[in-house]
Symmetry: C2
Subunit: 206 residues, 2 copies
């Protein structure tokens, strides 16, 4: 009953593990449609939204949905990974587009957005469902390298102090934005710039 996520067989890193037939085009289309629909429904109605609603929005029967995602939790986990991927990818993109310190700042802000949309998931994560077991590792494995290289680049440029543990920073921001009950986004943003100022302080020190 372990989560067997159907990893698209045509990836950029297509290892081509002897597929007698490559995945059918409609299957690919539907998998995408389901994930996109799920993302939309989850953000609008929460992670407890009925599966039927997601299937309907994707223009697909529930049978189709269940072939790809053997259980509800698998779908939730897949969407989570999808968004982790998106956020991590944006990190690389920002690094190429902006000077080191701006890239870092932009990404940290983007990361807080990621966190706030995952409020509902935080509870599910601790539900003991085995489909979620691998998510914390996935989270870390994807975010830590991105932040590490952003931090390193900024430190090289002398914009930010050295010796900051990426994972510590990820967790700190996580706690920080989960502890903001009242005014929400504005508060998080304020605390985040405080934190960034903290990173800049002592930046010239070797």
């Amino acid at each position: 009953m372990e989560a067997c996520f159907p990893v698209r067989r045509e990836d950029e890193s297509r290892t081509e593990i002897r597929p007698k037939r490559r995945m059918r085009a409609d299957a690919v289309r539907n998998e995408d449609a389901v994930i996109e629909a799920a993302k939309a429904v989850f953000t609008s109605s929460g992670v407890d939204a009925p599966v039927r609603e997601i299937a309907a929005r994707a223009g697909v029967g529930v049978g189709t949905l269940y072939r790809r995602f053997p259980s509800r939790s698998d779908l939730v986990a897949a969407v989570f990974r999808h968004e982790v991927d998106a956020c991590a990818a944006e990190g690389k993109l920002l690094a190429a587009k902006y000077p080191p310190d701006e890239a870092l700042e932009h990404w940290l802000l983007r990361y807080t957005e990621f966190l706030t949309t995952k409020k509902g998931l935080a509870a599910a994560l601790h539900s003991g469902d085995p489909a979620f077991d691998a998510l914390p590792d996935y989270f870390r494995a994807n975010f830590e390298p991105v932040l590490a290289s952003l931090l390193e680049a900024a430190a090289m440029a002398g914009e930010v102090r050295k010796g900051i543990e990426p994972y510590d920073l990820l967790r700190a921001i996580g706690n920080l934005s989960s502890a903001s009950g009242e005014d929400g986004p504005a508060h998080v943003k304020r605390m985040l710039s405080l934190l960034i100022d903290g990173l800049r302080y002592q930046r010239e020190r070797d």
Copy 2:
């Protein structure tokens, strides 16, 4: 749709608000039976246990259960209050039975036990269900005075430092026992005695 908990009409503080007829004996019996059954089932199968199972264990039809507890959440909340009451009552009992410092120590230990059995509830509390809205206040309103008088008595006896905020201590212990993932009870107990030693330190200081 707000939680209308049927407060037993015959209380020790029976205010007697013009009941044309007093609550039927079988109704009283059944309410007790349901709460007791729910407590048992919740601890053995978690707070997500089916309502039918609780009704069966109480020897009662689901209709009866739903008359008293209009929704599942109401029953969960009622059990929670029941246990808060029990833990708070034990505080008064310990205060009468032991010297101040021992009473304090015993009760804090009892409090950690209360906390560990409420692991499942912690998630439900943040679920947004309106039946749980009043629980945090209920929690504080019952525990804070108990701990306050235990602390005061111990401080009077010179066993514990003064100026400790009861609510801070309640929260501190709460965080402390929620953060103990591994060895569980033993770890909590160890951390708790550390904390109690901290309370004793400087106890002679005015």
